[in-house]
Symmetry: none
Subunit: 193 residues, 4 copies
DNA sequence: AGATAATCGAGACGGTACGTCGCGTCTTTTC
DNA sequence: GAAAAGACGCGACGTACCGTCTCGATTATCT
């Protein structure tokens, strides 16, 4: 029976492993992280990690979900769409600009590139909520009906990803604002809220 | 530890190593690729690889430059900016959608993510020419002066990258066209050519 | 940690565990045998094994006693000591030569070698009866008083063990007879019975 | 190519590994010995051990050969066969009686029991020389032609092994002498040398 | 007969050693 | 002196068992 029973899972271990993972990520970074070190730090056996996760990347992913999962992702609706977008775009840009967060995200993206399942997890559990939140705000903002909102949302985040990934330019607040202006124009800036 | 003398370098080995690298990349993918396997396949010694390259990623990068670094990247200028953009965006989307070509891009992106200096190489030697070509076309197309062309170019390629990376939606011709429409609106579609 | 109550012991489990042990010994050999496998095969929990036995070796020992501990070991006394010895030595040699029976002996010997207290059990409960039977026959056979019978008995079985253990020669009927002849000479073959 | 080239073997590593093995055997005993510990102590990689030996038992065996291999095994020939045998039998008995040596020999015998190849090595490289030496001395001692010398030699060592293995009695000097007396009677003690 | 308590099957757990894999260096021999 | 070949020290990997533990579900005695 190579399929363990989730009902009998030890919650204390699970927590200890995720906590240890986050701690080690902060201390040493993703590349230096090893499954053995996580287990040792968590006071767990390696087998316990391999029983419930696929390996290092899966644990890290879970640890990050765990961190992020708290918190409301809904965007504010002040009535001023441009201002609201500026807020979220500036925040996103800042997050990508932070080298600490960036390192782990980068590593996870590598996994994403080579593991289809992983890509799905990242997309659905980490990204989708945020994308949907922006999508909702756009809809509420009176964007013309002929604009494909899915494409529109990616028009916002795509360039940031691209710039971060390929380091084609600085990730500054000024950049964020310019981007918002272009996006507003794209979706018809007569929209007001 | 004396720095090796490039003049005495064996061209035959160099070629064999790069060819082997590409072949193995196709067959097994980047993650499974090992320096030992490249050496064995190339009929080379591992030391020869470490003498002339920094390691796996440097060889891969070189092998990919070697493949790609041909061809003219200038965009056509038919006078119809929207039509010209459609051409290039459709082509790009198709390239990302093709699993075969996608594999190479994937490998490159992995490199980019893992190594700062590699990122620079990829950006400057591979990406920049294409981005600049589009930028030139935009400038020639009469885009208003207040539009930051660097941001504009990324407004085109960012979403494609994003969608490809995170599989948030299909990479179809229809998608390409919608994207172009949004971008045209963003940069002020009164522009004509 | 309360000492378990033997009165409440489940006989069905005990049997199933011993049976499973013997079956697995036959199928895979002692070295490959694991407590987990015994438990699984017996439909028992591992704890049940550790509750009643000290571990793998204790279970194996018990399982083997269980198999062997039947039958009369007394030697015949036809009046012809040489003939009687031939009988028992030929039988012993045949037993060691038989790969099937040999497997069990092998397992037992492994136990004996690994654990002091096990060695005592094997010696006293399994071996001693047979050695004593031969010793009795020798005494009745009129062996001179100055011959140490314990040493004499081992003069018979020692060489067989040695040859079996180290494969220094064939275990044939002819060998058995030669051995008996030497032993008879050693203990003074004027003895008649 | 899973077959390493012995010509390229590093003698320094070989020595360090065998030395470390013997040192650890002395310090901790066979059961507590691990391949990882040997490698660490020898300043070698585990792979180097697995490359040249089959595992722990093979290394230990080799380490013991290495210790024993020095030294002449020929028996003295004083003209008095009984006296000469007493010497060698007393020495053998003393060796088996020593708990330190005994532990390792015991462990190796376990391996011998389950590994045919190993049994051959032990027999041919460790035992045979000694057995042959005794055999030669017997032949020179004028043992009657009708005595099978192979059987005779095992008549000496078999009982010792048996007693050691199964702990059926003490391994003392007195025992050694009694054994020699019986053996001398068996092979016809009119023999003089 | 119902309450009480220990045993039972099952298997997750912390741990240790395993044997393998790949890295980047070092050594030997050949060209 | 570069190159082919591959052994080497190292260290992480993912697996196998160990012996302990926790969890209901079953007995099996004792009120």
């Amino acid at each position: 029976m190579p399929t363990p029973d989730p009902a009998r899972r030890n919650e204390r271990s699970r927590r200890a492993i995720l906590d240890a993972t986050r701690a080690l990520l902060d201390e040493t970074g993703y590349a230096e992280l090893t499954v053995g070190a996580i287990a040792a730090r968590a006071g767990a056996g390696k087998q316990t990690i391999y029983r419930w996760w696929g390996g290092k990347s899966a644990v890290v992913l879970d640890a990050l979900f765990d961190t992020v999962a708290t918190g409301d992702v809904a965007l504010p609706d002040t009535g001023d769409l441009r201002a609201d977008l500026r807020l979220v775009v500036r925040a996103t840009v800042a997050e990508f600009a932070d080298p600490r967060l960036s390192a782990t995200t980068r590593a996870l993206t590598v996994e994403t590139l080579s593991d289809e399942t992983m890509a799905g997890e990242v997309r659905d559990r980490l990204l989708r909520p945020q994308l949907d939140a922006v999508k909702d705000r756009l809809r509420a903002g009176g964007v013309p009906a002929d604009v494909d909102l899915d494409v529109a949302v990616e028009l916002i985040f795509g360039p940031i990803y691209h710039r971060w990934l390929l380091r084609t330019g600085p990730l500054t607040e000024d950049y964020a604002d310019r981007l918002v202006d272009l996006v507003m124009a794209a979706i018809g800036d007569r929209a007001s809220g």
